[in-house]
Every structure is written in C-alpha cells, then in structure tokens.
Symmetry: C2
Subunit: 220 residues, 2 copies
DNA sequence: CGCGGCATTGACTCATTTCAAAGGTGGTGG
DNA sequence: CCACCACCTTTGAAATGAGTCAATGCCGCG
C-alpha cells in the first residue's frame, strides 16, 4: 500500500503538528477531541472502535503508519481510538488550520482529497468483506492484506494484533478466528510459525471461497 | 439528511454537467467510465453494487437525490451502477475538470471535501450495521433511516426498492428480510399497509436488539 | 385471463456463536 | 532464576440465527 504522505505535499503541514507517544491500549483521542483535529499515525498502529450500547465493539478502521484518520464525524454510536502497540506515535493537526491551508494551497487540498478518497475505497472494500465473506475468506484476505501491508516478504507476516482485535475487525468471534487459522493450517494453506507469526503457503487459495475452489477444479 | 448541494457552492460546476435519464435497472456507468467522472443523483435513486465472482452482489451504496457517488476506485472486485427507479436522472461531471476547478476555487474544494467526509461517515455507519447487527436491527434501522430520508412523515415510508435490493443492501437474504418484516408486524412495531408501504409504530424499539429490550425492562 | 416478477411461508441445514475449560506465554516481582 | 498471574490462544460441545431450497400466494400489466 502506497504511503499516504510520500514526502512533499503535506510536509508543510507538519509545522502545525503535535506528536505524542502512546503505549498499547492507551486512548489517543476522545470523541470531543476528534472533532477538532486530524490525525496521522507515525509509527505503531491505531484502532478506531465503534462502541455499542450492549458492550459490543467493532474496529471500524485499522490505521498503519503514514495513514490518516479522524475525518468522519461518527453518527449514531460512541467510539474509542486506541494504540494497538507500544510506542505508537501519532501526529495531530488542528482541523481548522488545515482547512485554511487547503483553501490557500491547492496542493494541500488535493492531497486531502486523495487521502479521503482512499479512505472511501478502503471502507467500501471492508463493506464487501463484512457483507459477503464467510469466516474463511475474511481471515484469508486479512492475512494476505497484512502480509502485503507490513512485510517485505509477502508470504510471511508477524501479526501485530491479538486474535481478539482481529475478531473485532472482521466481525467474527475470537473462537472463530482461532478455529479458522487452525483449519487453514491443517489444510496446508498457511503455516503457524508461532501464534503471531504466519507463513502464507497458498496465497490464491486464501482468497477464494472453498466451494469456489471445488467448482473451479471441476471446470477442468 | 441535509441535501448535499444546498444551492450555491457547486452551482458553477453545473456548467460541466451532463445529465441523463435512466429506467429501472439500467446501467448508469461502467467501471471504466466511473474512473473519469463524478456523479450526482438528481431524481430517483441509484445502487452501487459490488459483484463477486460467485455471482453474489452487495449494494455498497444507495444514492438518493442530491447525493454524489463515484469517488472511489473500486479495488479487488467488479461493480455495477444501476438506476433503482424509473426516471432516475443523474448528472455527471468530468473528474479532471472538477479537480482543476477545485484547485482554483477553495469554495468548490471545500464542498468536495464535505461530500467526501460525509461519504466516509455513512460508510462507517454501514460498516457497524453489517458488522454488529442482527437481521432484526438491520431491517429496523433501515426502515427508520428510509423514513427519515425520504418521507415528510417520519413514521410512514413507501419503500422505493424491492425486498431483494434491501437484502443486498443489508447483506441478508430476501427471505430473512421478509420474515423479519412479518415478525416486526406481528410484534406491533410496524404496520404493513402494503408490501411497500410501511408505517412505523414503535420507532425506538426498532433500533435496539430485543435482548436489550428485555434487559432494559428488567432494570426497572 | 394468465403471465412474470415480487413476496411470503415452511422445513431443513449449516456456519457461527456461545459457554466452558484447558493450554500457552510473557512479564513482574520475590 | 523461578514462580505466579494475567492475558492470549486453542479446543470442545451445544445452541441458534440465518441461509437454502422449495412451494405457494400476491399483484400489476399486457
């Protein structure tokens, strides 16, 4: 995934940045704060959780280094924004100031649009994931995505988050995440080097429904 | 829901608009076209469907009059954009032209940002809906939302789309939509004046999980 | 009047959740 | 350096919500 900063266009906004360091699980901003600022992850990772009245939570966005968050005004639910790892560093910018800067500098405005449109694309993909995929496909494409995003070696990932967080992100239960990983391992699609270290063996098979796989084979 | 046009800010872009009229089910743009243009629904309604290899489809966005679509580059799946009703009118704008205009006119740039941020908010809400809600809540909040969006009388909606489309939007099966409506009717939360005409009787109860309702009652 | 698409209903199946328990693992303090 | 604790992970068995398949009803339109 292309870094969202790429050096120059937003370099000048760093003049307005306030950076802070967080430890795992620490809250990064409250709903009130989030309305006034935009955020960028510098290192580590951040989860944006929707909290529901019955105590359920869903991770609406996982944010990796160089990506932004905080554009949306959440409607209809409470939320929490927390660091996923130790030493997560986040830069934040005053929203009004950036808006003003965007007014005067088309480059900045363009960059903000690009970031926003990217966010829309990612959210739509996630919508399809939640709406159409079974547990197998969810976990499979999560693994492939993670490997792609945070590993040089596209076949070897060290998952930076717990099963619980994965579950909340994919909207399935922790147990199902665990069982699915075991099943993928037993079928030889992945190897579990350790609980967090996954080696992808059959990348293509991870991305399709197993019924599709059977159908595909019988095509030949 | 606030109209996204509100008269002035984007009035000047209408100089670049091409409007067209569609009949129910007609395709509005192909993936190729969508990359070059932005769209606004003038009247009627539009569905943005993700199409998956196994024939499943999901409605990623329902677009009502005055709302925009076409910002995202879809990644990883094919899609179709179709009119939901007869006489759906859609205006489209050349993307590059609008980008240039945004560069020179901060008002336009601001407006585009506003539209994009709204889209992000809506998508996040839908993410929570798909991830956290059961069929009951999905249909319930869909009804409340529709009533709010397209009716003066917030308690009476004429659904502009079929059960099938509702199902694809909420990521449940047609049968479940139907069964759920029947159940809501039998429990007195709604009335089905006709298949498409719904009267909301107990708005609040539609928005909570029934187990929550029981818990809430026993609190007293 | 009859056709075709939409809508409802029933019976059965199945994926996933839930509840429960037992292994692991890493970190902290004695 | 070890022991203990909290938390993460796995696994099993039972319960369940929603999907699938199939049949029937409904309604508008030619």
């Amino acid at each position: 995934m292309a870094s969202e900063q790429r050096g120059n266009p937003l370099a000048r906004i760093d003049a307005f940045a306030v950076t802070a360091r967080y430890r795992r699980g620490q809250e990064i901003c409250t709903p009130a704060k989030a309305a006034e600022r935009w955020y960028r992850v510098v290192s580590g990772a951040v989860r944006w959780c929707a909290l529901r009245a019955d105590g359920r939570r869903q991770i609406v966005d996982l944010v990796w280094p160089d990506n932004f968050f905080g554009f949306s005004e959440s409607v209809g639910y409470d939320f929490a924004v927390e660091a996923l790892m130790h030493d997560t560093v986040v830069a934040s910018y005053p929203r009004r100031r950036l808006e003003l800067l965007a007014d005067s500098d088309p480059q900045v405005a363009r960059e903000i649009r690009r970031i926003a449109f990217n966010a829309i694309s990612r959210l739509q993909s996630q919508l399809v994931l939640l709406g159409q995929m079974n547990a197998q496909e969810k976990v499979g494409s999560f693994l492939v995505d993670m490997a792609h995003r945070l590993s040089d070696d596209a076949d070897n990932v060290v998952l930076p988050i717990s099963r619980h967080d994965i579950a909340d992100y994919l909207a399935i239960s922790v147990e199902t995440v665990s069982r699915t990983l075991t099943s993928l391992k037993e079928r030889g699609l992945i190897k579990l080097v350790s609980a967090r270290n996954v080696r992808i063996v059959d990348r293509d098979a991870l991305l399709v429904r197993d019924s599709m796989l059977a159908a595909h084979l019988s095509d030949n």
